[in-house]
Structure formats: C-alpha cells, structure tokens
C-alpha cells in the first residue's frame, strides 16, 4: 500500500485504522481484488447483448442459451501461486474457478486450461509442467468436472512466470441464477464449508507483486486444496439453493472472509456484522487479522432467509460440512467485525469496495518499431520443406497435448460430444437438442508485436474455433496476463490489448461477461509476453450439426475460405526454425472475419462440410497436416496453393479469417452456391486421399511427405520432453 492510499484511508475513516482494518484495506485494495490499474481500460469492453443474463461484477457471467437454460462461465488466473508451488497452485486455481461457477447456482460441466511455460527442455520448466498438469488432474478429476480443452504454449518469457489460466463453464436454469448479495436486514450470515486455517494469508497481495530471486520463500501464501470437500460443497450448495432459503452466496476466494463480508453488502447497499469467534477453525489461536485474510479453500458465505436457518443446517449436516451463523445483514453502512465480543474493525463497506483507480501514464516502447520492421523474408527459405513441416508439427507448441489431457477426466457428466483435440470442444445440454462449443485462445507473440491487433486476433481465433465446430459464438470471458503496470510500456500493452479486444468483440457482437486481470507477471524485471487469453462460448441449436477438424474419408474436396494475406511476422515458423520473434502481423479485417465465420457455420449447418479447421499457428500447411493426422486414422491430401509469394510464406505464414473445410464431391455444387451467397473470398485447393500430404505452390511440388511421418512428429513432439 502506498502513502497516498494510506492517507485516503485516514480521510475516509476520519481516524487511524486499526491493524485489522489496515489488513482489510491492503487486501481489498490490492491489484488482484480491485483492478486499480486496469479498471479504467476494462470499461471499454462491450458488456451487454441480447443473451446476457449477468455481466461482469458477479462471481461469473451468464448467457441465455434458450430452452430455459443459461451457461455460466469465467476464466481466472492462478499464475503467481503456480510458479511458487505448481501442484497446489494449479489445483487451487481449478478449485477457485469451480466455486465461482457453482456459487451462481450452476453445475460445472467443463474446465479448460490455458497454460504458458518456458522452454520444455529446461528441467525447471519440466518440473513446473508436471506439477501444474498433475495439480489440475488431481483437483478436477476428484471433484468430478471434465477437463475438456485449453492450450499450452511456450516462450522463454514465461520461464520465470508460467501462466495458469483456468476457465470453467456451468449450466443453470436461467431463472435460478444466484448472486453474491447481502439483502434483507436481519437475515443471518452463514459460513459454510471447510474450516479456516493459516494458509494463503495475503495471497491476493502476493499475486499483486512482481517476483525476485526469493519467490519460492512465498510458499506459505499458496493455499492447499481439498477437491473432495469442494465436491461436497458443490452438492450441498446446490441442494441448499434448491430449498429456497438462500438469499445470496459468494465464494471466499482472494482475500477470503474480508472480501465476502464487504463485497456482498456493498453490492446491496447494506452492512454486515460478524463475530469471528464463531468461524470454524482448524488451528488454535488465530487472530482476527488471520481469520479475515486467510484464503483457506472450499468455503462460502451464505446470506439466508431469516427463519429458515434449520433448512440450511440440515443440508450441510447431510454433506458433513460446517454451516455456522457468524453474523447478520444490517442496514449499513458499516462492516462491523467482532472477535470474542471485542470490536476489531468497523469500516464502511463502500470504503473497502471503492479502491482507488489509477490512470497512470503509458507509452509505446521505443524498441517496438525496430522489432516490427524486421523482415522475415530476409532469412533464407528452407531447402527441404518436408523437413520444415515435420519440424513444425513436432514443435512442442503445435504437437499433440495428449500427454496432458489423458491425465484429465474428459467425459464425466456424459456430455462431451467432441473430446479435446479439435478446434473447440462440444458439450450437449441434456434434455434439449442444444449443445455448447467452447474454446480458449491467446497468442502472446502476436500481442507482443502488436498488442491491439494481436488481442483482436485472439478474440477472432477463439470465436473461429467455435464456429468451426458449428457453434454460434455468444460471449467472451478474458484473462489479461501482463507484467507490471507501473512500467509505462506494459501499461501501454494493456491499454492497446484491451482496445483490440473491444474492437473485435464489438465487430463480432460478443459481450465480455466476466474475466480476470493478472498483472505483475515479472520475475527479476523480465515481464511475460503480454497474453490476453480469450474464452469463447458458442451455441449449437442442433447438437447433431457439429463439425470436427480432421478429414473423414478419401475423395472429399478441400476448400480454403478467407483471404490470402498472411505473414511470417510473429509466426510459430519464425520462432521454431529461426528462433526469432519480430515482423509485422497480417492485416485483420473484422467484417470479413465475421462473414467467414458465418459462412463456415452455414456450411456446417447445411451438412455440407465433413471437416472444418481454423488456419492458425503454422499456417495452412500445418492446418492441412493437422486435418490429415488428428483423426482416428490418418488420411492424406493433395492441395495446390496460389503462387505469388515465397513458398515458406505461403505454407507457414499466419493470418486471420482463414478456414480449411472438406466437402463431399456430391455436395460441391451446393457448397459453391452457399459460398457465393456468403460473399467471402474462397477457393477449391485440393482433395483428400492417399497416405501422403502433397502441397504445390505455383505448380511446383514443395511438400511431399508421408502422413505417418507427420503423425509421428506430432504425437511425440511434446510428450518426448515430458518423459
């Protein structure tokens, strides 16, 4: 906390705060809880739309998906804890986001993880990957929510600051959404779930600072998870909500009890009194300060309807969990905290909720211009394109992530129609014909070179993934991972990236209904690549009309939809082959992006498409190779790509708004008619079949490689680093 912030507290209280009160302010005014540096930008994001049932400001956002159902979803980071203690850090990241979903009354149906690490050859990074993946596996599997997607990417900038972003999606009846409100003066306030211990005290503050050499010494600020208790808490909360006795509910996440007891009344214009001695404790002699700021996991605060306390107690007793009344809702405006009868804090809830907002100066970094001016075509073209493609398919970033996801239960709930490994995961909504498609995306290298366009491209790609599965994108959750906002160049990255997200979301009509900002991702002065991770949820009105990315049979025609413009700037090829990070990104036309996605969805909806795959990292060559090898049985293909550019740019250049589809020969006419209606650039480029991938550029055969070889490279490219 700064001296100015302390002065602000003095002014607001009209006196010196007590030690406990100061603890409350320092946690709730931390960057992690209060978004001090980012709030000024976040209001640029579109947050409303016809499907929005709940926008930002609650535990999670909610969208109407029809037939009386709503999806509740959010993405959150657990970066700092995961670097200090990867297993528990990642596990409690999963636990935290699950609670955000089921406090809304929704049953979690899917988890996606967006992970970033340093070089997988580095033993320290390997240790982190093993820890993070097993932490996610342990928590999600034991809890019983399938982990169905996400991405893993690598760059040296993440070595000292790995990113662990976890997204969760839940389902709830649209008229049964619960909110984190403390309404009804005199209503009892219940503490439910796990007992409070000394773990995670000031976790929110730790997560709002940069790291230096001694980061590992902060291990005691990392919480310890218990997925079994979380599972009981889920069932008990949903059962308690069904009784009708629950008025409001909030997860005790960052800043624990302090956060709930101030945010819930602040949202409702009420106050609260609590007696800390009533809080179930697993350690003796905890101080008021510790009880308020502990981030022990698997706990919730419930405001119940007065007179119906017994109904609540009965449900929690059935699930063998504590449910103890610790206070009540008051008319306000204060949060009054007592400990064994003594008043230890009395603070207006508004004062805690209204942290200072900063508008700090920002400026584009001087080095960026030179970096962007780099011309990848000044580098030599590969002599052997077969080898270049094989190397890309085997690059850890592009290779199969089966090593990770086979450790995750992907099917519990029997909803998963498309398992991990396609552009988007598809989950059905039981009792309806509907399904939802979900994807996360975010390319730090693109955003590093051009924060605005790179961030906009992340929205487009996540939405395109959903469209390629046949889903109409409905809404976005975002996790903004950046370095220290106290540096003008980092703040500029953040400002530009948010602007890019906002532009793309407006163009694609995607409201941002929730998310998280994680700043201070720096160790010893080295910041991560600026990494906005975008999660998109889309709707399939007919679950049977879904598409996957792999070719289904020989003899299907292949079309490329979208523009020709691509660039090697910031590409995976440039990094993997040349170890370089520079150049300009391909242009992005948001209106064209929207039309291409609509065309893909229309083609899938008409049943004209047998596979649809986004052209992303690695360009069209990798997109085609993936369509060949990621299905159950590999199928080759032959394609002729337009001339006019150097072959490596044509094959591996990356650009937005491009999708590869396969079409049965007999439906080609219908497909052509539909594309003509869609008014997008497109072309037939080849056909599926055989056991080789053969690519011509301007008539010359530049790639002719066995799909078995490509599959082998792709299957082992990541796993071989993990053995």
């Amino acid at each position: 906390m700064t001296a100015e912030e302390y002065d602000r507290i003095l002014q607001r209280l009209g006196r010196e705060p007590s030690y406990t009160e100061l603890g409350l302010f320092s946690a709730l005014w931390s960057e992690h809880c209060a978004y001090k540096h980012s709030k000024v930008f976040l209001k640029r994001l579109p947050q409303t739309g016809p499907h929005v049932l709940q926008g930002p400001g609650e535990n999670a956002g909610a969208l109407d998906i029809g037939d009386g159902w709503a999806v509740v979803f959010k993405i959150e980071s657990h970066n700092h804890p995961s670097f200090i203690e990867p297993f528990q850090g990642a596990a409690t990241g999963v636990g935290g986001i699950l609670r955000d979903i089921f406090t809304m009354g929704a049953r979690p149906i899917a988890i996606l993880d967006s992970l970033r690490f340093g070089d997988p050859n580095d033993p320290k990074t390997r240790h982190l990957i093993h820890g993070v993946v097993s932490g996610i596996s342990w928590y999600g599997n034991c809890f019983g929510c399938p982990t169905v997607g996400g991405e893993v990417a690598f760059a040296p900038e993440y070595a000292g600051n790995p990113l662990v972003n976890v997204m969760c999606v839940g389902l709830v009846r649209a008229d049964r959404i619960f909110r984190a409100r403390a309404e009804g003066v005199g209503n009892p306030v219940f503490y439910v779930g796990n007992k409070t211990g000394r773990d995670g005290i000031h976790g929110a503050t730790m997560a709002s600072a940069t790291f230096d050499e001694g980061a590992e010494a902060k291990r005691p600020t990392v919480q310890v998870g218990d997925p079994f208790t979380e599972k009981l808490l889920l069932e008990a909360c949903l059962e308690a909500m069904a009784t009708g006795a629950v008025v409001g509910i909030q997860d005790m996440g960052a800043a624990g009890l302090a956060c709930c007891t101030s945010e819930m009344p602040a949202r409702s214009g009420t106050g609260m009194t609590v007696e800390l001695a009533s809080v179930p404790q697993r350690e003796e002699g905890m101080s008021a300060y510790e009880l308020l700021l502990s981030e022990s996991q698997e706990r919730m605060l419930i405001v119940a309807e007065r007179g119906r306390e017994e109904e609540l107690r009965r449900v929690f007793a059935k699930w063998e969990l504590d449910a103890v009344q610790i206070g009540e809702v008051t008319a306000g405006p204060d949060l009054t905290v007592r400990h064994r009868g003594d008043e230890v804090a009395r603070v207006p809830v508004d004062a805690l909720a209204e942290a200072p907002k900063y508008e700090k100066p920002y400026a584009a970094p001087a080095w960026l211009k030179e970096l962007r001016a780099f011309d990848p075509l000044a580098l030599p073209a590969p002599a052997d394109y077969d080898e270049a493609l094989r190397a890309l398919m085997g690059a850890p970033a592009l290779a199969s992530k089966e090593w990770a996801y086979r450790q995750y239960d992907q099917q519990v709930g029997v909803n998963t129609l498309v398992l991990p490994g396609s552009d988007a995961t598809v989950l059905r909504v039981k009792g309806t014909r509907r399904a939802i498609a979900v994807s996360t995306d975010g390319n730090g290298r693109h955003v590093f070179l051009d924060p605005r366009r790179g961030a906009a491209m992340a929205v487009c790609e996540a939405a395109r993934n959903v469209s390629c599965a046949g889903g109409r994108p409905l809404g976005v959750t975002d996790c903004l991972n950046f370095g220290s906002p106290e540096r003008p160049e980092i703040l500029w990255q953040l400002a530009e990236a948010v602007e890019g997200l906002a532009e793309a979301c407006r163009a694609l009509e995607l409201p941002v209904v929730g998310g998280n900002v994680s700043l201070y991702n720096e160790t010893s002065g080295l910041a991560i690549l600026p990494t906005p991770v975008v999660g998109v949820v889309g709707l399939l009105e007919d679950a049977s009309q879904l598409a996957t990315q792999w070719f289904k049979a020989a003899g299907h025609r292949i079309a490329l939809l979208g523009p020709d413009a691509v660039s090697l700037g910031g590409s995976e090829y440039l990094w993997t082959r040349h170890g370089k990070q520079g150049g300009a990104l391909a242009p992005l036309d948001l209106e064209l992006e929207r039309r291409v996605q609509a065309a893909v969805r229309a083609a899938i909806g008409e049943g004209l498409v047998t596979a649809a795959h986004d052209c992303a990292e690695g360009g069209i060559a990798v997109a085609l190779a993936e369509a060949c090898v990621t299905g159950k049985t590999a199928i080759g293909c032959e394609a002729a790509l337009p001339a006019g550019m150097r072959a490596d740019l044509t094959l591996f250049g990356e650009g937005p708004s491009r999708v590869v589809v396969s079409v049965e020969g007999g439906r080609a006419r219908e497909f052509e008619a539909l594309m003509a209606e869609s008014a997008i650039p497109w072309q037939w480029i080849g056909a599926t079949g055989g056991a080789r991938l053969r690519l011509r550029v301007g008539g010359e055969m530049v790639v002719d490689v066995s799909v078995d070889h490509l599959e082998h490279a792709w299957r082992n490219g990541f796993e071989r680093h993990m053995a």
């Binding site: 019983g144 063998e320 029997v414």
Partner: protein, 237 residues
Amino acid sequence: MRFGVVVFPGTWSDCDFHYVISEVVKQPVKYVWHRDRNLADLDCVVLPGGFSYGDYLRAGAVAGRSPVVEALPEFLAGGGLVLGSCNGFQILCEAGLLPGALMRNECLQYRCQSTSLLVENADTPFTRALRPGQVLTMPISHGEGKYHAEPETLRALRQRHQVVFRYATAAGQVTRAANPNGSAENIAGIINEEGTVLGLMPHPERAAESAIGGTDGLQIFHSLLGSLVEDGTFTKR
C-alpha cells in the same frame, strides 16, 4: 428392472448411471444414499465411479465399510445383482465381495482414454447379450486401476472363468501395449464365484449412446434386462 445407484460423498458417476438407466435403458432407477441399508425394492445395485469419501486412504477403503456396502451380502442372498464400475470396483474389492485389489496405475498417472475390452465370459447376467471373443470399446478414467491378486487367486479366477473383460487391442489381442494401467493379466473386469457381482474399471455408462463414446457399454444393461426376464426374478418378487 429396478436399479439403485449408490451415492457416497465424492461419487461422481452417479448422475451418469442414473441418466443412462432412466433415459437410454428406460428402466426405473433411484439414488441410494451411502447410509441407507434398505435395498429391498431393488433388482440391481450400481456402485459408480468417483472418489468416495475423497479416497485419501486407499481407493474404496472407507466406502468398503459403509452401511450400504454392509447391506450388500443380504441383498445378494435375496437374489440381487451388484455392478461396480471404476471406484465401485475398488470398493467391491475392499469390501471383500470380489478378490484382489486395485493399485496405483503403473505409469503413476491418472489415465482417461478409450480402451478395447476382450469379452472372456459371456455366461453371466451382465454379459449374456455378448459373445466370448467380442471386443468392446469403453473408456477408462482412473488413477488406481492396476488389478493385483496373488498367483493362486489369479489361477482360480482363470479356472472358474471369473475374468469377464481383459484389456486388448482393437483386434482382440491381449498384449502388454494394450494394458493401460499395468493390471495383472490385463484384467479389466471380474465376477464373483456366484456370478452376481461384476466389477470393472471401464465406464459402461460413458459408452451407452452413439453420440457419446458408442453403444458397447449398453450391452451390459441389455444383458441385465435379459437375465431378469429369463430367470423369472420378476415373478419371484
């Protein structure tokens, strides 16, 4: 056929079994709470997957001593059938209703993947709709699924045809590479001597609809229905 799906604290395949039995197999089904000892109105009790009581001790160790499991011998004596999948199989071994034990996977990691199962014994109430040598596709999802038993127990299981399913290749070859967890003799599922208790690590409820993992798992439910009609249990009750 009246099914009861047992719910322990920490069970998570309960809803999936309930859904498949009521919506796909179209049979009456109810949840049975772990403290419940009254199973009188049921024909088949299902012990589903999950982490009962958190499984912080050995998997299934606490559940194996729970009231509902203590009531199973009497239920079996009255003509009932018991199906344990995943955690249910672990619980049945812990309770002594099936021989052997399930240990940590040989790879020391959790495994969720599709497996091919060779049907060895189709002469059970759970498999009569199948034929020996048939290969089924069903997913597994567990961290402790490595079947272990003493050599004499394994011999006895073989002699009495108590091994119902083995992990195999898609072509039905029982190979080391097809064994996902290091189970002794690739054992994926066994039955008790009386033929009334089946335990298997794979998830039949996740292979009961063509849109979700195929329909091979459904054969187990169809077998059960056939058994019920054939042995006249309907008229007995």
